[in-house]
Assembly symmetry: C2
Homo-oligomer: 223 residues x 2
């Protein structure tokens, strides 16, 4: 690694996984370029650098790195400070709750793409149950593990951006007063400057287009 | 963390994710207990310590840690030496190929559970394409990144154990001479003592029972 690496993040507007390294880049004040691609019609070079044709990809001095968590942890490791606790056991717990967040993003997709009311209700119910579980593990806040913003926060911020959009667009209440700690956490995350800046100005519009493309119950409920 | 932590791994016979920490425990000569549970009928205490009701869980001095990679990386971090390269970029690349391996385990499940010939062929085709991709990134071996056995090897060993079983049981050829580097890698992994010892003696029998329970094309092809 040269002492002045250059970074380019290959991105897609509404992708929650892209937001992870983007938030880390912003939090850690790492200079970088962003290139947005259309995942519906990816450029020919994309398969070469992303074997599963997923974003994000981080191009470091011309060499590509794929997968959101390896990229985010790499950026964290090469810069001062860490978004993880120092203790290996606590760090592993944070990583486990990140996996839990991955599952919740899967449930968000199930909700957004549900083809009938039954599927929609099932996904909403699973998300509600996951939010209850989170409520039990959260402490005094404002962030997942207390005062310091960390990698778990990086991962959940894009999820709460989705739940806020769903509430606004189709009135489905996910993060409510019934889980007050989660609600306070989500509000904190969505005000964090790096989180706000992690998506393009077209995000809401692109999310609506995404729901319409999925063509499920959620899209039928759009105004 | 006390200087003499006790470790208990909560396991399920054929689970490929359980094999990860088990291989790390064996490779790093960490004393541990194993408790096998029946995931079809999990004990009542299990949901408490594993919010997604998945194995593995590692109980460290009575405190539970869930998710295979956080557990495996924790065990690697608290013991001398590392199953990852020291350079952060190379380490991140290894983690990215681990995610690729996760996708392949998903494809294995798609193959094992395919309900008709079309689904079966599709999953087999995807696995074949993924194996071609791996062939392109492998070097001179014997392991993923050369002479040292590492975390990528830990993750792919359980996958190759499945492909070997499928070949033996129903004659589906996945790892063949067409990808000679992958074939040599798989053979090396499946001979590694920690890999051999990572599953119970009942593994093959349990895998057959698993295929029968799935009731798909693969189970119909069993003798």
């Amino acid at each position: 690694m040269s002492s002045n690496p250059t970074f380019k993040l290959i991105s897609f507007s509404i992708c929650p996984y892209v937001q992870r390294p983007r938030i880390v880049l912003l939090e850690k004040h790492i200079e970088h370029e962003i290139e947005y691609i259309d995942l519906q019609h990816p450029p020919v070079w994309f398969h070469e650098i992303s074997p599963l044709e997923k974003v994000p990809v981080l191009v470091v001095n011309g060499e590509a790195l794929f997968e959101s968590m390896p990229i985010s942890e790499y950026l964290d490791e090469i810069t001062p400070g860490s978004l993880y606790p120092e203790d290996p056991f606590r760090k592993a717990q944070h990583r486990a709750w990140i996996e839990f967040g991955n599952d919740m993003l899967g449930q968000h997709f199930a909700l957004a793409s549900a083809k009938d009311e039954k599927e929609f209700k099932k996904a909403r119910g699973t998300l509600a149950e996951r939010l209850d579980t989170l409520e039990d593990v959260l402490g005094a806040g404002p962030y997942f593990a207390g005062k310091a913003f960390g990698m778990v926060d990086v991962v959940y911020a894009p999820l709460f951006r989705f739940t806020r959009e769903l509430q606004r667009l189709i009135g489905v209440e996910l993060v409510t007063d019934e889980t007050p700690k989660v609600a306070a956490w989500a509000a904190q995350l969505l005000e964090r400057p790096a989180v706000v800046a992690a998506v393009p100005a077209s995000f809401s519009e692109d999310y609506v287009a995404f729901l319409r493309r999925l063509g499920g119950v959620a899209s039928q409920r759009l105004a």
